[in-house]
């Protein structure tokens, strides 16, 4: 017996020691420790959830259909080019929804040649022939590849933007069903961050069609190969938005993919910020050619289908630089530079879930959570001490240890403490004493039957143990199911509840028993004060 208790005590002390070691990095004390202490201690800290720190949680849905559409359109352009090169004439070719491309040829003899070209250069398609028509069907695995690539690329682009925006500890992850999870803790201006992340940022340079009239086009007579896009002019005084229509050539002369740098500059004449773009050598060559070939015409700068400006080309521009003006605020110009540097999203994204918690609410929640925990804890502690006397104080000790174990468990597993998680801890405080209540009630019963202290404690623990185990397993089942199906904050609740249940078994049964054994077996106390 005596030997047993020493081993058990050692185990308990060891467990408590480990728990404290893991808890320290999460405490304010940690910051004041010297360098060597920080090196020895584990790095794991309790993470605070967004609901406590403040921040945004976004789920973005990548419009993968649009990505497939873009991909097919690109191939359509390339095919057209290849056919011209090989002198294959066609009557018509168009994208058939998301299924593929249909090509109607002039001459039947070309069918075989075109088929060979496609087989060689575009292996992503299954080819069907019908009279003079070649029907290209996008293969399922190719489609999946395009979709996956679009999502990966979107992920990468968003990560770049967030990095440049400057957020500490962002969490950006791919999820199922082509969605991306973005969690940004401690953001001060959530609206700005959401705009920055969600912008497609597709930059295009298009020529303005000055040969046809815009008014005619607005009446529905749009010349072939043209489109109408608008410029948004915001009156700084009234905030009223006016839409100015532009008739543009549909063909994109240059896109933002050749941009190497984008930065904010201030126009000394108007004192307004603008964004200066630099192209790589290939982009610069294209830009020089376009500007050289179209002097005195207007070149529209279009971002996400909105016209920003349409200056007249005065001369060939060789340096590979362009600027976007458009009455920006400093902030807008800064964010635009970021998205242009980080590149366009391969497909538009849509925010399908947003949970924003302002920093003030997060602080309030922590404060209130701690207050509720302390007050609940004090009431329970006092209650146990009064009701069960010495035994109650032992149970209270177990309760304190239990809370330490939960906290260090959270740090150890790198789990996140959320507001429902705090609720889980509070609940555990209420329920953790249950094990001790069961044991103490049993001991009281045994004492009433006339048993001695040691025997009563022995049977009390023995009988209560199975019941405690049974009762806790059911709560544990519920907690595990919750963890499996829950999201974010709810998972935090499931985690604290689970750790709390396991920890309470250890503290309320194992540790209290050591103290009882010490007092009554080793020290030979006679009267059980319970």
């Amino acid at each position: 017996m005596q030997k047993g208790i020493i081993w058990r005590a050692l185990l308990a002390v060891f467990a408590i020691f480990i728990a404290v070691v893991y808890l320290i990095p999460s405490l304010p004390v940690y910051e004041r420790l010297s360098g060597w202490a920080k090196r020895i201690l584990p790095q794991n800290k309790i993470h605070l959830g967004l609901d406590l720190r403040g921040g945004i949680h976004l789920v973005l849905d990548v419009d993968v259909d649009k990505a497939v559409e873009n991909h097919l359109d690109r191939i359509l352009d390339e095919l057209r080019h290849d056919m011209r090169k090989n002198r294959i004439r066609y009557r018509g070719m168009k994208r058939d929804g998301l299924k593929g491309i249909n090509i109607l040829l002039m001459r039947r003899e070309d069918l075989k040649r075109l088929e060979d070209i496609i087989k060689r250069q575009y292996p992503d398609f299954k080819i069907e022939k019908r009279d003079n028509t070649l029907i290209l069907r996008l293969l399922a695995e190719a489609r999946n590849r395009i979709v996956n690539m679009a999502v990966d690329q979107a992920l990468e682009t968003i990560r770049n933007r967030v990095d440049q925006f400057g957020v500490s500890e962002p969490d950006i992850r791919k999820q199922q069903k082509n969605t991306i999870l973005v969690q940004l803790p401690g953001i001060k201006d959530p609206r700005r961050a959401i705009k920055l992340i969600g912008k497609t940022a597709l930059l295009e340079f298009k020529l303005v069609d000055d040969e046809h009239s815009v008014t005619e086009a607005l009446r529905g007579r749009i010349p072939p190969g043209d489109e109408i896009l608008y410029q948004m002019k915001i009156d700084p005084g009234t905030g009223k938005v006016t839409k100015i229509p532009f008739l543009l050539k549909k063909r994109t002369m240059l896109t933002g993919e050749y941009i190497t740098d984008a930065r904010v500059q201030i126009d000394p004449r108007t004192n307004e910020p603008y964004v200066l773009l630099s192209f790589d050598s290939r982009g610069a060559r294209i830009f020089a050619r376009i500007t050289g070939e179209n002097i005195k015409k207007r070149l529209a700068i279009v971002l996400d289908k909105k016209v920003y400006s349409a200056p007249v080309i005065q001369d060939r521009i060789a340096g590979g630089r362009a600027q976007i003006t458009g009455a920006f605020t400093m902030e807008e110009a800064h964010d635009l530079a970021i998205v242009l540097r980080a590149g366009a999203l391969p497909a538009p994204v849509k925010v399908i879930e947003e949970r924003t918690v302002g920093p003030s609410l997060g602080r309030d929640s922590i404060e209130k959570g701690i207050k509720a925990t302390i007050i609940g804890g004090i009431v329970v502690t006092l209650f146990m001490a009064i009701y069960y006397n010495l035994a109650g104080i032992i149970a209270d000790l177990a309760l304190m240890l239990n809370i330490i174990f939960i906290m260090s468990g959270l740090a150890l597993f790198g789990a996140t403490l959320t507001l429902p998680g705090i609720a889980g801890i509070i609940l555990t405080i209420g329920m953790a004493v249950d094990a001790n209540v069961l044991i103490f009630e049993r001991i009281r019963e045994e004492l009433r039957l006339g048993k001695g202290a040691i025997a009563a404690i022995e049977t009390g623990y023995g009988r209560a143990f199975v019941t405690i185990l049974d009762a806790n397993v059911t709560t544990l089942i519920a907690a595990l199911v919750l963890f499996q199906f829950g999201t974010g904050p709810i998972r935090g609740f499931a985690v604290t509840l689970s750790i709390g249940i396991v920890a309470s078994m250890f503290t309320a049964i194992f540790i209290t028993r050591i103290i009882f054994d010490y007092l009554y077996v080793l020290k030979g106390m006679k009267k059980v004060r319970i």
Partner: protein, 345 residues
């Protein structure tokens, strides 16, 4: 110190008719409300937007509504509540046929245009309809699986009939799988699973499991009823609370059942009703004590924990009270009814 004197002998079983009547009518009210008005789901499940906002000066709800008129959101539900003595407002937009992602912007702009800079957007929750549907599915499946696992655990652990419980689990899984492949809605799946579990418990002579499961269905139903009556919204956090209640309710029930089995072994001669009643009385002190410590901390959470956690604490409070009541007045008497019906336990 003792609240409950040892040797106390309250005739709980004798009052089972009153208890059955009370429980029955509470459940009937819940079912009636459920069918008649339906539950109010939070944005987690319906999709929509909730915005919590604080102003530097107190505003009337009508003022806020007027401010939202230019952006056509004046049909939102606006609620005022006090947080540490300061008025805050919840603006709920329940439409889902508009661009939800833009609402945060619109509301902030509209409020700032009207009230100036003293507008503090404290919290925004926007859930698209697609996500809402997914979350609902997930929540329902969570409820379903917890019922399944717990049913297996109780029947196995309690009756020492692990084989039976595995048969039950298999039967349940097969039926549910078949039903779900026919496209049955999850709500009905849960209903089917519940009926089937009860039926199987009955058929396989799993009396304790039957009592425990009826008690937990009873607790969860009445807690939902409390939400229906108070017109509170059922959100993801509430589902978490319901599952915790499931765990807690069983916890209580198991402790009484454990004592019944122990007493049965000790005195086989005594009538079953007497043994049940004695067991309840013997564990009464523990039941009352644990429930009260749990209630204390939940009351602390309810009054001090702040608005975000308020409804969660409310659900747990109701659940603990009902769970305590049901382990005394519902679960054990059902054992007796069962025993009378079959003569075996």
């Amino acid at each position: 110190m003792e609240f409950i004197k040892p040797g106390i002998n309250i005739d709980f079983i004798g009052k089972r008719k009153i208890a059955f009547f009370l429980s029955g009518s509470l459940i009937a009210i819940t079912l009636f409300l459920l069918l008649w008005q339906g539950p109010r789901y939070g944005v987690d499940f319906t999709g929509g937007v909730v915005i919590q906002v604080r102003f530097d000066k107190r505003k009337s709800i009508q003022e806020i509504r007027n401010a939202l008129k230019p952006v056509h959101l004046d049909d939102s539900i606006i609620q005022e509540f006090k947080e540490s003595g300061i008025s805050e407002y919840l603006i709920r937009v329940r439409k889902t046929n508009i661009n939800l992602a833009g609402i945060h912007d619109k509301v902030k702009d509209a409020l700032e245009a009207r009230f100036g800079k003293g507008v503090d957007i404290r919290r925004v929750e926007m859930v698209g309809p697609k996500i809402g549907k997914e979350l609902k599915q997930k929540a329902l499946f969570a409820i379903f699986y917890s019922i399944l696992f717990i049913a297996i655990y109780i029947s196995g652990r309690f009756e020492m009939k692990w084989v039976m419980s595995i048969i039950m689990a298999l039967a349940l899984s097969v039926v549910v799988y078949a039903a779900s492949s026919f496209g049955v809605k999850v709500t009905w799946l849960i209903f089917i699973a519940m009926i089937l579990t009860l039926g199987l418990c009955w058929y396989l002579r799993l009396g304790y499991a039957l009592g425990a499961i009826i008690a937990l269905i009873h607790d969860v139903t009445i807690t939902i009823g409390a939400f229906l009556i108070t017109q509170k919204e059922i959100s993801l956090a509430i589902v978490a609370a319901l599952l915790t209640i499931v765990g807690y309710s069983l916890n209580d029930t198991i402790i009484v059942f454990d004592r019944i089995r122990e007493n049965l072994r000790k005195s086989r001669k005594q009538p079953f009703a007497l043994i049940i009643n004695r067991s309840i009385n013997e564990t009464l002190s523990r039941t009352v004590l644990t429930s009260s410590t749990t209630l204390f901390v939940l009351l602390a959470l309810f009054f001090l924990g702040g608005n975000v956690i308020h409804d969660f604490a409310f659900a747990m409070l109701i659940g603990i009270v009902v769970g305590t009541y049901s382990s005394i007045f519902v679960a054990s008497p059902i054992l007796l009814v069962w025993e009378k019906g079959f003569g075996t336990t």
